[in-house]
Symmetry: C2
Subunit: 516 residues, 2 copies
Amino acid sequence: MNGAESLVNTLVDEGVDVCFANPGTSEMHFLAALENPRMKSVLCLFEGVATGAADGWYRMRRTPAATLLHLGPGLANGLANIHNAKRASSGMVNIIGEHANAHLKYDAPLASDIEGLARPLSHWVRRTASSNTLAGDAVTAIEQASAKPGKISTLILPGDTSWGEVTAPKGAFARSGVPAPGVPGQGQIDRVADVLRSGEPAFIILAGSATHGPALEWAGRVAAKTGCRIGTQFFTARIERGAGRVPLERLPYAVPQAVEFLRGFKHIITVETGEPVAFFSYPGKPSLLKQPDTQVHELAAADEDSVLALEMLADAVGARATSPVYQAFEDKGLPSGALNPLSIAHALASAMPEHGILVDESLTTGRETMGHTAGAVPHDTIQNMGGSIGYGTPVATGAALACPDRRVVCMVGDGSAMYTIQSLWTQAREGLNVTTIIFANNSYQILKAEYANMGFGAPGPQALAMIDIDKPSIDWVAMGKSMGVPATSVATAEDFYHAMMRCNAEPGPSLIEVRL
Amino acid sequence: MNGAESLVNTLVDEGVDVCFANPGTSEMHFLAALENPRMKSVLCLFEGVATGAADGWYRMRRTPAATLLHLGPGLANGLANIHNAKRASSGMVNIIGEHANAHLKYDAPLASDIEGLARPLSHWVRRTASSNTLAGDAVTAIEQASAKPGKISTLILPGDTSWGEVTAPKGAFARSGVPAPGVPGQGQIDRVADVLRSGEPAFIILAGSATHGPALEWAGRVAAKTGCRIGTQFFTARIERGAGRVPLERLPYAVPQAVEFLRGFKHIITVETGEPVAFFSYPGKPSLLKQPDTQVHELAAADEDSVLALEMLADAVGARATSPVYQAFEDKGLPSGALNPLSIAHALASAMPEHGILVDESLTTGRETMGHTAGAVPHDTIQNMGGSIGYGTPVATGAALACPDRRVVCMVGDGSAMYTIQSLWTQAREGLNVTTIIFANNSYQILKAEYANMGFGAPGPQALAMIDIDKPSIDWVAMGKSMGVPATSVATAEDFYHAMMRCNAEPGPSLIEVRL
């Protein structure tokens, strides 16, 4: 058995049985080892698709996927979506092929400082020493990635460690185990319970594993009992929402609206997140969104067991037997007429696939209207935690592989979609149930608002030429066709609704261009 | 005047009058400053297009372009082509927007270690301290980028330095000047002259500024006088070639062939490059390509004046008045029949636009047959120095902007083209004279050979699924159409020839899918 075979065996033994790959010459032995039938390998035509897909996989499965990338530049191409995954606390194991050790000193064209590139966006980086250390290093990489919150592990694989024979006995390495989440302290729980019992206005901000599953139920009981409000930051890694779920409010994105939203609260209670801060800085606008006299209390840190913390809080405020208020189903009816954010939201709500996964990179089009889909059939939403655009279509790809029985609806602005549009090809290759909705406003529309937010008013012609993407406008039906994804273009709300319904009924990927 | 205006003014004052941009919110003041009519700004829909275009610009103009990228992830998306540019010694000035200083401590979603990401692939990195330091920092960045060989400068631009008022007087900063190239030592010239006079077989390997312009002439005189051979590595940043030029031999790519090529030489003389090394390492194959007893002599380092060095060498061997042997024009005639590497090369040779710029990322299809185009009309070739694929279409974009009166022919494999396919959109937007030729073999064909080179024979089904990109096959005509580039598909050599001739005659971009 060579090092690459040992690595692939170890990955699948430890539960990492999917690999999003964009290999090169230095990874040929890994490729040969992928003949292992226990590993599902998925080819991506750009590395940002691979790393984004690993993020999407983790969001739904809560276990890390592997990526296979080709030396420093291959890693570099994957870094933006590694950044997004890191901010989403999505665990992943990146395997980076590298020149053989004996070759490094010749500084061949593809050589670069892989550790240097990996470190800023990885929690754990290691260059394996030999074929014999690979299995142990892989186990450590997976343990790190699987911690709570999920971590970015990056394992560098020199060619000779891949092709060299393994002589160490199987399992001959130390195992640390996955770090256990911290247990919340009763003192902190009691302090938060005191705050909630005081009757002063309080807002609990949930994140991480507290926005789905049992944590939501406990938070709902606490809210029903104490009258506090519960919600999320503007962006959240994954929320279970829709009819029958405990509904969460959403902090607005824009600074003035967010400040206004938070104005009335005397207390902000955080669960796996920090106090709300502005996404960007603007001249003369605050970075902190709460009022100066609002107190911030941490109920559970990201590395703590927040489900337990919320259960303990429910007990502390006497809410164990309280019934949460659940979201009612809202029939939005068949939308009609012109496409605008509101009619789009209505169509989305009405055509939402049951237990669909809504990957949201809609920016301006979807930003202010997501509330209108809160009463749709149960679904998950996934949002961009790192702010690097081009996350949507890759994450949708990984989420669809993770949940083959659920339809993924990926809402993405045209500007954002172009960064990692190669996702469509992988969706076609794997026959994934993804509906990609392109909001085609032929513009980085968000930047027009941001330009104004900076105090400039309307952009001049040169600035506008860096914001509008209408010359030429992108033909999204042709783009879908080029990569084997059936595509249609719609210009009315009813056509959009019917197109979504057709996609729901038809297995495999599809694309809808929403002409704005 | 604010910092951003000071920066844009300084860039154009110092001759950097093109900016390949993919901006975001943190760069809005820079965008406003782009209203400066002396700056040409070019929007790219992915950052790898922007950095690759800056590389292409430098290859032809020999002066740096600027890029504008959005925080750490925007830089990350541009890094692979920065790697390629660094290996090509292409100078560029990267401007990286960053959060305002006061905002940094809140660790907002898009925050990351920009210096950490920039350093592995930049020669010079600086975070500007204030609006007042921006002009001086920009001058230093440009001086560094303009050195010989060209360097990667990365200037980090926090939002408040961009929007803050400049209070320092214009020009109130120290100027180091562009470092002058080193003057070759007479002793080294004489040692090489002795080698050449000895009559022992010698191969001069030219690179950098020695593969175009007067250096070629001097090298040709030396070869004609002494009988030495002259050539290049397999990859070279830019070669002036074709009828009437001094022809250069090309070292083969594959290790056994390269070793065989070099076997007979007692001496290798390097000009702006090192001794030949294997691109990748393979079990049991050498990294060094020369014979152990072959001596390597450096005529000029990359930071020295190699034109002067070759002139001094010509004088030292008495070749000043010797006439070089020039490449004769070879009429390959009209190709016909099936498309294969040979017929493709013949078609390329016959349809080569006069003074065209041939950007070569053809990998397997073009690799072994480029020699057949050596006798075409005069043209330049540009090759990938860093090995990170996806360099071709961006470099072609930048080269076309740099040389609006010349047609760029970009030969690219289908696998490579997908990494940075967004280039097509910028080509359409700017009406650039680029003919993109996609060699559509529906495969990372090169990896099949590399798989065999590793000693595995033919790939198994799982490995093949990571190499073939035929399910689905990409519809390149639809891809061109999606981004506004007229496209055609050809299946015979004569159709390919005629398609190229039509593209030569028609201003603006076009795409030819060569079905293999």
